[in-house]
Amino acid sequence: MTQTALLLAIAVPAVAALLTLLVPNRRAPWAPAILAMLVCGFELAVAIYVFPTDFAFAWPWMGFGVDFALRLSRLSAFVFLGIAALSFLVTLYSTVAMAKAPSSRRFHAWVLLTVAFSAGAVLADNLVLFLVFWEGLLVTLFAMIAAGKSRPFATAIKAFVIVGLTDLALMFGVMLTGHLAGTLSMSAIRLPLDGLGAVAFLLLLVGAMGKAGAMPFHSWIPDAAVDAPTPFMALLPGGLEKLLGIYFLARVSLDLFMLSPESWVSPVMMWIGAATILLAVLMALVQKDYKKLLAYHAISQVGYMILGIGTALPVGIVGGLFHMVNNAIYKSSLFLSAGAVEREAGTTDLRELGGLGKSMPITMACFLVAAASISGVPPFNGFFSKELVYDGALERGWIFYAIALGGSFFTAASFLKLGHAAFFGRPADEKRLVKETVREAPWPMLVPMIALAGLCIFFGVWNAVPLEGLIQPAVGAAMEGAHHGTFAGFPTNMLLVGLTGGVLLLAVLNHAFGVRRTGKGLGAVDHIYHAPGLASVYKLQATGALDPYRWLNGTAGVAARILFAIDRAIDWVYQTFASGLALVTSGFLRRLHNGSAPRYILWALAGGLTVVLIALAVVGGGS
C-alpha cells in the first residue's frame, strides 16, 4: 500500500501534467490551475498518509546496479511532506494569480512535472534514479522561467546554464561516488571523507548548492524574480529548490559521507555558507524592487543552512534543517505577498509603492509575520532556527558567528526598509495607489499566505513539534552526540539571545536614522549604500561585473572565438574541400559516361583483360 502510494505520488502529477497540456485552452482556461491544485492536494494527502512509515523497495531497472529504488526515511518523509504542502499552497494561490496569464496552461503543466520530479528526487534511493529526477527538474526550471512575461528567455538560459553546470558536477560526483562505494544504492553508501572521497563529496556539494542557489551559483535568481511568474518564485527558488538542495546536502553529509568537524570539508562548507549570507544580504539591502529584494534573501538564507550543516555538529545540522523548513515557509509567504501586491498595485517597484497597509491589511499582516521570522525576531520560527545555527557556528569559530549575526542585522534592516516602503508611508503617485483603487487580494491568494504565516508562528511558539516530530528523527544518527537530547524549547544560551536582540535593536535604530536622514522608508539604508568601500562594490555590482555568469560568459566568449576558428577550418575541410572534391570527381566520372557504347565495351574488355592478367600473374608467380 505504501509502495503504491509512493509510486502514485510520482506518477499522478506526471500524468496530470500531460493531461493539462491536452485541455483545450479556449474552452477551459481555468482547468489547468484547478487540476494542478487538486493533484497537489492529492500529493499532500499521500505525504501525510505515508509520513509515519519507514519503507524501502527496489525494482531491477537498467542493470549495472541501477535499480528503481525508493525509500521513505525520516528525512525524505519530512521533506516530501514539505514539498507537497508547499506546492499545494502555491497552486491554490496560482489559480488566481495565474488566471489571466496566457501561459497558465504551460505553467501548470510544468508545475505538476516539477512536483513529480521533486517527489521522485526526494524518494529515490538510487543515485542514478535520483539523478534522473534531478535533471528533470532542470528542464522544468528552464520551462517555467520561459513561461514568464517580459524577456524571460535570456534568464531561462542563464538559469539553465548555471544549474546545468552544477548538475554536471553532480553527475560526475554520482559517478565517482558509485565507483568508490561499489554500489549506487544510496542507503548502502557510507564513505570516508578523504582523497577521492572528498572530491566526490565536493562535486555532490556543488550539485546540492547549485540547486539551493548558494553563491556563486545564485545569479539567475534575481533575474528570474523580475522575469518569471511570481508563483514560480514562491514555489521554486523560494521553496522547493531550497528543500531539495538542502535535503540532498544533508543526505550527502549525513548519509553518504561521514562528515565530521575534523574534516577539511567542514570549514569549506562553513565559509561558503558565511560568504553567501553576507554578500547576498548586502545585495538585498539596496534593491529597489520587492521581488528582487526577496530573491537576494532567498540566496542569503541558504547560507545559514549550509553554515549550519557545515558545522558538522548536531546542533548546527538540526538548526540548518530547521532553517530550511522555516525558510521555505516564510520565503514562500513573502513571495506570495509580493504577488498579491503586484496584482493589486500593478507593480513591485518600491519607488512607486507605499501606504498599501491601509488597503491590504491582511497581506500586510502576513508580510509582517514572515518578515519578522526571516529577521529572526522571537517568537517566530526563524528566530529559533537561527539561534541553533549561531550556537553551532560559535562552537566552530567566532568569525562564523560574527558573519551570521551581521547577516541578521542586514536582513532586519532590509525588511524594515521593504515593509516601510511598501506598506507604510505614501506612494509616489498618491492618486493611483489609494484605498479606493487598491483592494485586498482575493481569498485563494490570501489563504496560502495566512496558512504560511500561521505556520511561522506555530513552528516558533511550539517549536518542539517540528524539531522533535520532524527534524531530530531525520537527523537520527547524528543526534547521538547531542548532550541534552532535544533542541526544542527556548534557547538556553542567554548571551546569544541577548546579542541577537541587540542586533535587532541596532537594525531598528539604523532604520530610524536612515529614514530621518532621507525622509522616506526607501532611503533607510542609503547611508550604507554610500558608505566608503561599499559604494564602489555596489557600483560594480550594478554593472553586473560581479556576476559569475558574466565571467563565465566572458571566458566562454574567448574560448568560443578560438573554437570557432578551429571549427571553420574543420568545416572548410568538410564543406568546401571534401564536398568540392566529391563534386569534381563526380563531374569527371559523369563526363566519362557519355553514353557511347564502344567506350563502354572498351572498358569492359580492358577490365576483363586486366583481371585475367592479374589472376595469371599471381597464380603463375606463386606456382
Partner: protein
C-alpha cells in the same frame, strides 16, 4: 521437386500464350499466382535447402545438377516479392493490355532463368540460365519500342545491354571451354579442385567467368550498359531489373562461385575486393551528380553491388552471410525506390529532379517510404541496410582488410549524401507551381511500396531473429 521451379513458370508461359486474345488480361493474374508460389517455395522446407543434390529428372535429361540451399531460398523470396511488385507497378503504368501481357510473359521467362540460377551447381548450366534471363530482359528493356512513336531511347538502352551481354557471353563460354580443358568438368566442385591445384588455365577460366558476371552485375568497369538500360526501360521493367534480374544473373552467380569455388583463394578474393571497392566509389560518385531520378538510382545500384563483391572478398562465412543479406536488403529497397520513381513519373510525367521539390506534402506515403528505403541503403540503424553493411564491414575487418573496411564505411557517407540530395530535391523545398494539383499516387503503386518499406523496417528491427533463421537455414 526442384524441377517444378523450372516447369511451373515455363508451363505458365505456355498457358499464357494459349489464352484467347480477349482473355489476355488474365495473363497477369496467372503470373501473380506463379510469383506467389515462388515466394512460398522459398519457405517450403520440403525443397530441402541443405545444399544436397536434389532429385531432378530434368537435370538427368539435360545433364545438369541442382542442389538448392539457403541461398537459393533467399533468391526465390526476392524474386517472388520483387516480381509481384513489378507486376503491380505494371498494372498502373503500362497503359495497354498488350504491353502488360508481354510484360507478364517475359517476367515468367526470366523467372525460369532465375530459378535455374538459384539451384544449379555447374558453370555451364549457370551460363545457360543467365542467358535465358538475359534474353527475356533484352526485350523487356525495349518494351516501350513496341508502341508506335515511342522507344528510340529504349531501343538504345536495350542495344547497349545486348552489346555488353554478348561480351559477357563470349567471356563465359570461353571460361567454360577452358575449364573443360583444365578440369574436364564444369561443376563448381571440379573448378574448385583445379583452382586449389593452382592450374593457370583454371584460373584464367574463373577470371573470365567472373568478368562475364561482372558485366551482368554491372560492376565497374563493366557497368556501362546499366544506367542507360534502367533509365530507358519502362517503370515496371526498372523495378524488375533492379530488384532481381541484375542481381540474380550477376551477383547471385558471383555469390555462388565465391562460396563454392573460390573459397577465399588468392587471387580470387583480391579481384573481388578491388573490383568491389572501385565499383562502390565510382558508382557512388556517379550517383551524386545525376539529375534523372532513375539514373541516380541506377548508379546507386552499381555502387551497392560493389558492396556485395567487397563482402565476398572478406571473411568467408561472415562475408557470404553479409553478402546474402545485403543482396536481399538491396533487392527489396531498390525495387521499392523504383516503385516510388514510377509513382512520381506517373503523377508528374517527368523524372528530372531539378523540376521537382516540395512533393513531400503532396505525396506523403511516397516520400515516407522513399525515406525508409534510402536511409536503409545508406546504412542507418535500425533499418535492415544497417545490419548488412555492418556485417560487411565486420567481414572485412575480421580478415584484416582494414583499408577496404574504411572504404566501405566512408562510401556510405557518399551514399547518404546522394540519397539525402534525392530526398531533398524531390520531396522537400519549394514546390513548383506546376505541381499544385499533384496528389498522392494510386494505391496500386503505394501499397507495394509500403509493404516493401515494412519489410525493411521489420527486418531491421527484428534482425536478431532473422539472423537466427538465416544461420539455421545454412547460408
Amino acid at each position: 521437386m526442384s524441377d517444378l521451379l523450372l516447369l511451373v513458370p515455363f508451363a505458365a508461359v505456355v498457358l499464357l500464350n494459349l489464352l484467347p486474345k480477349r482473355a489476355r488480361a488474365a495473363g497477369t493474374w496467372i503470373a501473380f499466382a506463379v510469383l506467389a508460389l515462388e515466394a512460398a517455395a522459398a519457405f517450403a522446407e520440403r525443397f530441402g535447402y541443405a545444399g544436397e543434390p536434389a532429385w531432378s529428372p530434368l537435370g538427368a535429361v539435360f545433364g545438369f545438377h541442382v542442389a538448392p540451399d539457403g541461398l537459393s531460398g533467399l533468391l526465390l523470396l526476392c524474386a517472388g516479392l520483387v516480381g509481384i511488385t513489378a507486376l503491380l507497378v505494371a498494372q498502373k503504368t503500362l497503359r495497354e493490355t498488350r504491353e502488360r501481357f508481354f510484360f507478364a510473359n517475359l517476367v515468367l521467362v526470366a523467372l525460369v532463368g532465375i530459378n535455374g540460377i538459384a539451384m544449379v551447381r555447374d558453370l555451364f548450366s549457370l551460363y545457360v540460365f543467365v542467358e535465358v534471363t538475359a534474353v527475356a530482359t533484352f526485350i523487356l528493356v525495349a518494351l516501350d519500342s513496341f508502341t508506335e512513336g515511342r522507344g528510340t531511347e529504349a531501343l538504345e538502352g536495350a542495344w547497349k545491354y545486348i552489346l555488353l551481354s554478348v561480351i559477357a557471353s563470349v567471356l563465359m563460354l570461353l571460361a567454360v571451354a577452358f575449364l573443360l580443358l583444365s578440369a574436364g568438368d564444369t561443376s563448381l566442385e571440379a573448378a574448385r579442385g583445379a583452382l586449389a591445384a593452382r592450374d593457370p588455365l583454371a584460373w584464367i577460366a574463373i577470371a573470365l567467368f567472373l568478368c562475364g558476371l561482372f558485366v551482368k552485375g554491372a560492376l565497374v568497369p563493366f557497368h556501362g550498359w546499366l544506367a542507360d538500360a534502367y533509365t530507358a526501360a519502362p517503370a515496371p521493367v526498372s523495378v524488375f531489373m533492379a530488384g532481381i534480374v541484375t542481381k540474380a544473373s550477376g551477383i547471385f552467380a558471383l555469390l555462388r562461385i565465391a562460396s563454392s569455388t573460390l573459397n577465399g583463394a588468392t587471387p580470387g578474393r583480391e579481384i573481388l575486393l578491388v573490383v568491389g571497392a572501385v565499383t562502390i566509389l565510382v558508382g557512388a560518385f556517379l550517383a551524386l551528380s545525376q539529375k534523372n531520378m532513375k539514373r541516380m538510382l541506377a548508379y546507386s545500384s552499381v555502387s551497392q553491388m560493389g558492396y556485395i563483391a567487397l563482402a565476398l572478398g572478406g571473411d568467408l562465412r561472415l562475408g557470404i552471410l553479409a553478402a546474402g543479406l545485403h543482396f536481399f536488403n538491396h533487392a527489396i529497397s531498390k525495387a521499392q525506390l523504383f516503385t516510388n520513381a514510377a509513382a512520381i513519373e506517373r503523377e508528374l510525367g517527368t523524372l528530372d529532379m531539378d523540376q521537382m521539390g516540395g512533393l513531400g506534402s503532396r505525396m506523403p506515403v511516397t516520400a515516407g517510404t522513399s525515406a525508409v528505403a534510402t536511409l536503409s541503403i545508406a546504412g542507418l540503424p535500425p533499418l535492415a541496410g544497417f545490419w548488412s553493411k555492418l556485417l560487411i564491414v565486420l567481414a572485412l575487418w575480421n580478415v584484416g582488410e582494414y583499408g577496404f573496411a574504411v572504404v566501405a564505411v566512408l562510401a556510405s557517407l557518399v551514399t547518404l549524401a546522394y540519397f539525402l540530395s534525392l530526398q531533398r530535391r524531390v520531396f522537400f523545398g519549394k514546390r513548383d507551381e506546376r505541381w499544385a494539383a499533384v496528389r498522392e499516387t494510386t494505391p496500386g503503386l503505394w501499397v507495394p511500396a509500403v509493404a516493401l518499406a515494412l519489410v525493411t523496417i521489420a527486418l531491421g528491427v527484428g534482425f536478431p531473429f532473422a539472423l537466427e533463421i538465416l544461420l539455421g537455414g545454412g547460408a
